[in-house]
């Protein structure tokens, strides 16, 4: 298989990973560098181990290396289309379906978390990786993923409980 076809197949996932792991970095540059590094390291990739987590780990590393200083942080944002969506009916108290305003609050609260918390939440929920894959991609021991995720979710709930103002859109 031509390497180009691997790039083709995984570039979407790679860009998404880079951006969601470090939204304030240069995702495209991270992905470019990651593909080049992965190419150089392909010799170590003959044993039939899954390519995707291996690649995404390199991507995540490159993305982190491009993280800007906290002062310039842009953070995650909702798609513009979300803003054009007509207002949803008010969700029932236990519904996982969020309306637009709730999403904005939730994004704001996640952006306020520390990098480690954000990363594990992004990997597990936004990239939809399982715990083992999250460990691979973030370069963490598997046991650490569970505990870190649990603490991150706790802190996220704390921020949401403490919320008294409008969602942080910046």
């Amino acid at each position: 298989m031509a390497y180009e076809s691997l790039v083709r197949r995984y570039q979407d996932a790679a860009v998404r990973t880079a951006y969601l792991i470090a939204p304030d970095g240069d995702a495209e540059d991270a992905v470019q560098e990651a593909f080049v590094k992965a190419y150089r390291a392909l010799g170590r990739f003959r044993d039939g181990s899954p390519f995707r987590p291996w690649l995404l780990r390199i991507v995540a590393n490159e993305a982190r290396n491009r993280r800007r200083s906290a002062g310039r942080r842009a953070g995650l944002a909702l798609r513009a289309a979300e803003d054009r969506r007509p207002g949803d009916a008010a969700p029932s108290p236990e519904s996982a379906v969020l309306d637009r305003e709730e999403r904005a609050w939730l994004v704001g609260a996640i952006n306020d978390l520390g990098d480690a918390d954000r990363e594990v939440i992004a990997a597990r929920y936004f990239l939809d990786l399982n715990e083992a894959e999250t460990a691979d991609v973030l370069g963490l021991p598997r046991g650490t993923v569970k505990s870190r995720l649990s603490r991150a979710l706790g802190r996220l709930r704390d921020r949401l409980s403490a919320t008294t103002e409008g969602p942080n859109r910046g």
């Binding site: 298989m1 031509a2 390497y3 180009e4 076809s5 691997l6 790039v7 083709r8 197949r9 570039q11 979407d12 860009v15 998404r16 951006y19 969601l20 995702a27 495209e28 540059d29 992905v31 470019q32 593909f35 080049v36 190419y39 150089r40 392909l42 010799g43 003959r46 044993d47 039939g48 390519f51 995650l76 944002a77 909702l78 798609r79 513009a80 979300e82 008010a90 969700p91 108290p93 236990e94 996982a96 379906v97 969020l98 309306d99 305003e101 709730e102 999403r103 609050w105 939730l106 994004v107 992004a122 929920y125 936004f126 939809d128 979710l153 709930r157 949401l160 409980s161 919320t163 969602p167």
Partner: protein, 308 residues
């Protein structure tokens, strides 16, 4: 205004589901258009699109297609332009391919790709080509511009004698029997059993893109698979089905290109050396042969048919 604090009280499963749902609403940078739009059509591909085409074309599945279809890669007007960064990544990869060692990796899929070649890049491996200067032809009619024997700058592996290559290669080494050609000036074998025979340029054997080199015959322990044959077009590269002594062959001319074959274990292997000229490639059993020269198609086929 919704009571967003309800989010903090969601049961764990609902909270996690809400986060997954949020993930689907997040703005993520746009990625290039899918490969779906690639279709048969014009062969005129402007240079700016070529790099993208390399990616798009690689998205083809292994479905059998006519060679002409593959030659006529058209361009859908609806496709969005490839983003520059990823184009650069591919370009960088192709340059890397010129200097890296042979790379094979075990993924199913395409079996052979002739892609656009990298720009000429010096071969960096210091272990290559320095051995056995004594077997250098003393009177090469067209001296090479470099100090070493013909082929020493191409990263062909260890220089050996023809007898040594025959003893060490995992297949019988065959030499063209054309009397005007004579024996190769240098013989090389690399770590994966590829044997390369090099003839210096001389009257009747014009120089290839590599000054001083007239003919290179490469014998690879592997095969090219027309079922999975894929052409990643450079606008100036053409490929043609030819018959080489009854075997299916491919004549590739025009711009430099890259070459991928399938080794004995079924692994696709990137040929990382830049090719020096027009190329004739064909397989006989488990061995693939490749001629590079500046003689043209018909003379190449005639020469090829003397190999045995």
């Amino acid at each position: 205004m919704a009571d967003v604090r309800r989010l903090a009280q969601l049961p764990d499963a609902a909270f996690e589901e809400a986060l997954r749902d949020l993930g689907r609403s997040l703005a993520v940078p746009a990625v290039p258009a899918s490969a779906a739009g690639l279709s048969a059509g014009t062969t005129a591909i402007d240079p700016a699109r070529r790099a993208r085409l390399r990616i798009e074309a690689a998205g083809f599945g292994p479905a059998r297609r006519g060679l002409a279809d593959r030659l006529g890669l058209g361009w859908p007007t609806s496709a969005r332009p490839m983003r520059r960064g990823l184009v650069l990544a591919i370009a960088a990869i192709l340059v890397l391919a010129a200097v890296a060692g042979a790379i094979g990796f075990g993924l199913p899929g395409l079996r052979i790709v002739f892609g656009p070649g990298p720009t000429p890049t010096p071969v960096l491996s210091p272990s290559i080509g320095a051995a056995s200067p004594s077997s250098s032809p003393a009177a090469s009619p067209t001296p090479t511009p470099t100090a070493g024997p013909p082929g020493s700058t191409l990263g062909l592996g260890r220089q050996v004698t023809l007898a040594e290559a025959t003893a060490q290669a995992p297949f019988p080494v065959a030499v063209p029997s054309d009397p005007t050609l004579g024996p190769p000036d240098t013989v090389w074998i690399d770590g994966v059993g590829r044997v390369t025979l090099v003839w210096a340029a001389k009257p009747g054997l014009p120089s290839t893109n590599e000054p001083g080199i007239g003919l290179i015959v490469t014998e690879l322990p592997g095969r090219i698979e027309p079922d999975y044959f894929q052409k990643l077009l450079n606008a100036q590269t053409t490929i043609e089905d030819v018959d080489v002594g009854g075997a299916a062959g491919y004549w590739i001319s025009g711009d430099p290109h890259q070459f991928i074959y399938v080794d004995a274990s079924g692994q696709p292997v990137f040929e990382t050396r830049r090719l020096v000229g027009d190329t004739l490639a064909w397989s006989v059993g488990p061995v693939t042969y490749r001629l590079e020269n500046a003689l043209g198609r018909d003379e190449s086929i005639r020469l090829a048919e003397t190999i045995g």
